[in-house]
Symmetry: C2
Subunit: 198 residues, 2 copies
């Protein structure tokens, strides 16, 4: 079945993510992607010059999704705590929607083969950390979070929370709702971080 290059490219990227989830990022071969789609292996190289370029397209797709989700969370406009919670929720939602993401962060592809890919994801993590720190600082100044700790440290605790829960979810049988469990633990941590006056 013949498709436009644009559609085919999108289909290939989606299939890579799907397969990365199913069999692990480093098991995603061009042959596996092609046969899942229903074209020959060589056909992939009409759309992407190398496999690295294909992975780069995947990374950009994922990064766009993250950026969009964070934007949505920040535009809630309510208090800093609401935005903070929404950021965490968005992160969990994105991970759940792209379950290959945690594994991808540690794949050979990202860490060894493709330095550009690594830079893309590392930058995203830094951005997320920055967004959290900003909201935390605002909350501290508003007196809703205790001010006796650096906002950066609190942000590290929260990103760690996300990663820790995501890892438990990914390494286990994914036998719990990532977003729900993640937000539950966020609320626990948030109570610890809250200013004592309330």
């Amino acid at each position: 079945m013949r498709k436009s290059a644009e559609l085919r490219k999108a289909e290939i990227v989606a299939t890579v993510l799907d397969l990365a989830d199913g069999i692990g990022p480093d098991r995603v071969t061009t042959g596996a992607v092609a046969s899942q789609i229903g074209v020959t292996q060589a056909a992939l190289f009409r759309h992407f010059p190398t496999k690295d370029a294909l992975w780069q397209a995947v990374a950009e797709h994922v990064a766009e999704g993250l950026a969009l989700a964070w934007d949505g969370a920040l535009n809630l406009g309510d208090g800093p705590l609401v935005r903070l919670r929404a950021l965490i929720a968005a992160q969990f939602a994105q991970i759940a929607a792209t379950p290959a993401l945690p594994m991808l962060l540690f794949s050979r592809e990202l860490n060894v083969t493709n330095a550009e890919l690594r830079a893309t994801f590392h930058g995203r993590l830094t951005t997320f950390h920055g967004l959290l720190a900003t909201e935390i600082r605002t909350a501290q100044e508003a007196g809703v979070l205790r001010g006796d700790m650096p906002a950066n440290d609190a942000a590290v605790l929260l990103t760690s929370l996300v990663q820790g829960v995501a890892i438990r979810w990914a390494l286990g049988a994914r036998d719990f709702d990532l977003r729900a469990e993640g937000l539950r633990l966020f609320d626990v941590q948030c109570r610890l971080l809250a200013a004592e006056g309330k």
Copy 2:
């Protein structure tokens, strides 16, 4: 140079860990291990029937190291907070001593190829979580940690902290002291968890 099987096996396991750190777990080929040691590729198969068996030996080596470190931490005998901190410190020290560990957790080898390997590491994580939860519960009963939260949740927050810091260390340029930075953040989190009366 001819060596006893015991020595050679240990050398092979150590080399696998070294290479896993250097080039990524999934780039560790039998040929690479052999040439690093200075024997032929075929020689490896005199000591391990398959590559999977070799990885299993690596996993057992690492697991032994973790168990030993935890034992040492628990035998400090002082209060629960001291033991808790020592557990965390031991974990960071082990990760720093085996820098391939975080990547190993997400390697193709562990997640796809070798189900037994996966079980080994997953069991260890569960054990660690259990040790933390026990100490936290003791500390809560002694009134040094606030009791208005499940010990299990607090343990998740702490294991997440370890994983989060380890990830930042592994994905970045390892440009900070893992143990020191980890313990610093542990102390921050610990202050949040501390009972308000003191």
